[in-house]
């Protein structure tokens, strides 16, 4: 009788806690534990890093100095599609990352070094991919037009790789420590 009560989650607290080691109560969801907090923190950093890098690319380089424009005649269909996709993907990632971050902070599971590591990995991965795949392999658009590109490309992709590596080092240090 008594054990039946406990299984239903209504037992006395000290005794019920003995039982929880084998049988967790239904009110505390299995899928919301510290391990999930860490994963959520990581995901939030990655998404915000991706969103921030995409936003910087779009706002700073596409619109402010008009290095490349909203649309220029040389942009092909693939360029139009990739611009639209990236725009939607980056702001979606930013909103999702902010919501996850707010939840992690509310749960007091925020770890600055790990989060910044994830941000740098997300931003660096985006920048590297943008520099290598979009600019060089697919040749959708270039950093700038009418000048020698070598320096710009090195700086663009190099910044991405540097951010990516720094982020990975930060993450590894946290995992080791």
């Amino acid at each position: 009788m008594a054990s039946g009560f406990r299984r239903a989650g209504g037992g006395q607290r000290p005794r019920a806690s003995l039982h929880r080691t084998t049988e967790p109560p239904v009110t505390a969801p299995q899928h919301d534990r510290p391990w999930h907090d860490r994963r959520r923190l990581l995901l939030s950093g990655l998404l915000l890093g991706l969103g921030a890098a995409g936003a910087v690319d779009e706002i700073v380089f596409h619109q402010l100095p008009h290095w490349h424009h909203f649309y220029d005649r040389s942009t092909g269909t693939a360029g139009l599609v990739s611009d639209g996709l990236l725009h939607a993907a980056t702001w979606s990632a930013t909103v999702a990352g902010l919501a996850l971050l707010a939840d992690v902070r509310r749960r007091a599971a925020f770890a600055p070094a790990r989060w910044w590591g994830a941000v740098l990995v997300g931003a660096g991965a985006f920048q590297t991919w943008d520099g290598v795949v979009q600019h060089k392999l697919l040749r959708l658009h270039q950093v700038r037009y009418g000048v020698d590109l070598t320096g710009y490309d090195l700086a663009w992709t190099g910044a991405g790789v540097l951010a990516l590596l720094t982020g990975l080092v930060l993450l590894r240090r946290r995992t080791a420590g």
């Binding site: 080691t21 009110t27 649309y71 139009l80 599609v81 611009d83 939607a88 979606s92 509310r106």
Partner: protein
């Protein structure tokens, strides 16, 4: 005719939200939802009639109208939670019938965020990608049909993504966020394509395309914010449940 339909819709909502609870001594309906319903209907009137709809060939005015009709109005109408209001106001029999209709196979398929978003985006691509836009610009009948289609598919897509009203087979927040992003991407690619290749017989096409792109981004961002806020609040409920019964270390 639009004005008449909107006045009727406003009267029905007002009666159900504020008159019926007062008469039956029920709990009050949040005033913000009523305001959202009014604002949504206002956007429908503005977007489908008036100067925005009669500026034939001016793509910028046309886009302003469609932005109101297909994006802003649907968001406000969804925030007003009309199905929740109907279910709590209707007599039991009628409410059961309504929920049976909502559970029926066609609505389950249409109400899936991916199906609804594809339907919405495909409608836009057909309207602007083919000659349909110029064909309907000067004939009132087809023009009205296009307006109704834009409003309904926009409403369906927003309702499916946000799922604020009771939904029997609601998908998780990630799936709905991905559906929203996919729909937004299709919308943005179309806007850039219109900028590059303006539809025949339109003026101010570049400004119209930029308005579509930027306005669309703002409304999509608002929808995403509502979606993730809803997730954040629901996680809060999980957290307070954990405080009552902490998980094992």
């Amino acid at each position: 005719m639009t004005v008449l339909a909107c006045v009727l819709a406003a009267a029905a909502y007002l009666g159900a939200a504020h008159l019926v609870p007062a008469l039956r001594g029920r709990s009050r309906w949040p005033a913000g939802r009523t305001a959202a319903w009014g604002g949504g209907l206002g956007c429908v009137v503005l977007g489908s009639g008036g100067p925005l709809a009669t500026a034939h060939g001016d793509l910028r005015a046309h886009m302003a109208g469609h932005l109101l009709l297909g994006m802003v109005a649907p968001l406000l109408l969804v925030l007003a939670r009309p199905v929740t209001l109907a279910l709590r106001t209707l007599p039991l029999h009628a409410a059961r019938r309504l929920s049976r209709v909502l559970r029926s196979m066609p609505l389950r398929v249409l109400g899936d965020p991916f199906a609804a978003v594809v339907l919405n985006a495909a409608g836009l691509w057909v309207l602007y990608g083919t000659g349909l836009l110029t064909a309907t610009a000067h004939s009132p009948g087809p023009h009205a049909l296009v307006s109704v289609h834009v409003l309904l598919t926009g409403w369906l897509a927003t309702a499916a993504v946000l799922a604020l009203d009771p939904a029997p087979h609601r998908r998780g927040v990630t799936a709905r966020a991905v559906a929203l992003a996919a729909g937004a991407a299709a919308h943005d690619v179309l806007a850039k394509t219109l900028y590059a290749h303006p539809p025949a017989g339109t003026t101010r096409a570049a400004e119209g395309a930029e308005l579509m792109y930027n306005g669309g981004t703002v409304v999509h961002l608002l929808v995403a914010a509502v979606l993730w806020r809803q997730w954040y609040v629901s996680r809060g409920a999980v957290r307070s449940a954990e405080r009552v019964a902490p998980a094992p270390a």
